[in-house]
Structure formats: structure tokens, C-alpha cells
Point group: C2
Chain length 152, copies 2
DNA sequence: AAAAAGTCTATCTTTTTTATAGAGTTTATG
DNA sequence: CATAAACTCTATAAAAAAGATAGACTTTTT
């Protein structure tokens, strides 16, 4: 059961992050209905319920979601969609937003194939890519990826 | 032996692609000296020689490098650095340049967590990220990542 | 003929990703 | 207060990908 089915999807967002986005969208679009069941999100978005559990828990531990146990419980947003930048979610679940460790702002790591980072042309170009990417992902929020209009 | 040592380097260029860039840089900067030995590149750039063999072979099969067997042999560029866009190398060795399969130009794949791609907000944002990335990676070439100045 | 150097194919190991299992805890409510 | 609903936590397993290696083969030079 290969979920990527024949494409070559390297460098992409993990399923974990993709599922997180879809779950957050569902939560935002149903924010008026009180806590939402994990099982409801899983069914609606076609995600393994047990896998989704872990993801929602991570989002909760990061202060993005709240939860309520017991009957009538479920998950809900702790922030408005507008307050949740996409970069926040990606960094939380996938880590660095950069094509090379040596240009990552949050997960920097020295590269060991170049002698001097200061004069590495690769470093320059990849920094530019990172900046262009972050400009979008830090300014676009959950609100921007919603289908329906939701009250702020 | 974890070569990523504690960072969380997902979504990044693979070692294969990174090694390819470093090898190409070395070949460009030594283009005047005739064919360059795999072993020379491996030593200079701190890459496993056997792993590098495979990479150089892929670059050769893609028409980017040429080679000469026997004594005095080695690898050499078939194009000028200016004619080799970075996107070409990444696509060859890593595949798609996109954060989601559904926004990849060269490796498109339908996403199965959203009902309708046409009204998927995620799709819109990720297309913008792809465009911003490609604008850089398709216009920047091997020439732009060289340290030394090399004759065109 | 011998040595140098790339070619090819196969396999192995490690790491990461994805997914699952199951016992535990909290809460609403009849 | 018993019960069921629902999230919590930790561990583990399965699958895929990345990274690396081995060795026999071919071509070329001298």
C-alpha cells in the first residue's frame, strides 16, 4: 500500500503536516459547533483515526488546539484562523523550512561538503529560496486556506 | 552514524542532490584540466566514492556530463555552467519541486484529502510557493553557485 | 599485457515515515 | 456512582526511502 503511488514526492510536506492542515481546516469551518470528534475529522478527511490522534495531540501540546474529554468532548481551535501562520504548522510537524540545513533559520546545521559557508554560492541561492518561501508561509494563515468564510 | 545529527531536516534536498551540486561545482572549477577523476571529487568534497559514482552516472545519462574511460579518463561538463539550471539537477535526482503532489508541474498527483482541488485554499498557497521557488531555481544556474570565476 | 578508470547491477543497512495497539484518564449524565 | 464516551500516553510494528557498498565488467592508454 504505497500512498504516494508512483510519483517522486521527495522534499514535500509529510502526510502528518498535510493531515494537520486538513484537520485544522475542518476545525475552523466547524468552530461554531463546539468540540469536534477526532473520529469525525478522520472520516470527513479520509485519515487514519489513530494517526490523526497523534497529530491533534501535537497541535494541542503546541498550544494551537484545546480539547475536552468525555461525552460531548473533542478538539477545538484555541486561536482564530488568522492567528495561525502556515509556517507554524510546518515547523511543528515537519521541521525546517529550507532546502539545506545550512540555510535553516530554526534548525541550522553546518554543511560538511563546502569549505567555507561565507563564500558558498549554493548557500546564497538557497537562502533566497528560503526567504521567498517564508515570505508566503509566514504571512499566509489558516484563514487563507479555508474554503468557507468563517468569522474571525 | 546519523549524518543529520539531531536536526529535523525534512523537506530538504537529499544528500544525493547536494553531492551532485558539489561535484558539478568541482567539475566547473576544474574544467580546464580535462577529465576529472571520481576519486578526486570524492576526496575533495568529502563524499563516499561509490555513492558518488552512481550520482555522476545519473548526470551523465541525463546528458549533463560526459566521461572518458581508461587512463587519463574521468568526468567533464557537456554544457557550460550557465546552461545548467539548478532546478534541472534537483528534478533529476530528487523529483518534484513542490510542497504538495497536487501542485507539482512535473510530478503532479491528485490529493485525496480534499474534495475539490479547484476550491482548495491549500492548493492556492502552495502553488504560489512553488512559483516563487521555481522562479529562483530555474533562473539560477551552476554558474551562480561557483566560487571562482570560470570562463563561459 | 597490464593498469587505469568508468559502467552496471545488485544488495545491504539505517533512518524516517506512516500506521496501529492497547491500557489509562477524565468527564458527562442517568 | 456506574457507565460510556472521548481524549491521553507510550510503545511498537511495518513499510518506504535514503544512503552506502560490493564486485564483476568494459573500455582505453601505454
Amino acid at each position: 500500500m504505497n500512498i504516494w503511488e508512483g510519483c517522486k514526492p521527495f522534499n514535500m510536506l509529510s502526510k502528518k503536516t498535510q493531515y494537520a492542515f486538513h484537520a485544522l481546516i475542518h476545525l475552523a469551518e466547524n468552530a461554531d459547533k463546539g468540540p469536534v470528534l477526532i473520529s469525525e475529522i478522520a472520516q470527513e478527511k479520509n485519515i487514519s483515526i489513530k494517526f490523526l490522534e497523534n497529530i491533534l495531540l501535537e497541535l494541542k501540546n503546541a498550544g494551537i488546539l484545546g480539547s475536552k474529554k468525555g461525552k460531548g468532548g473533542g478538539y477545538y481551535l484555541l486561536k482564530t484562523p488568522k492567528e495561525i501562520p502556515l509556517a507554524r504548522i510546518i515547523r511543528l510537524l515537519d521541521g525546517a523550512i529550507a532546502l539545506l540545513p545550512c540555510v535553516s533559520l530554526n534548525y541550522y546545521e553546518k554543511c560538511d561538503n563546502c569549505r567555507d559557508e561565507a563564500v558558498c554560492g549554493l548557500h546564497d541561492v538557497m537562502s533566497k529560496v528560503r526567504d521567498a518561501t517564508l515570505k508566503l508561509l509566514e504571512n499566509k494563515t489558516l484563514k487563507d486556506i479555508l474554503t468557507k468564510n468563517v468569522a474571525i
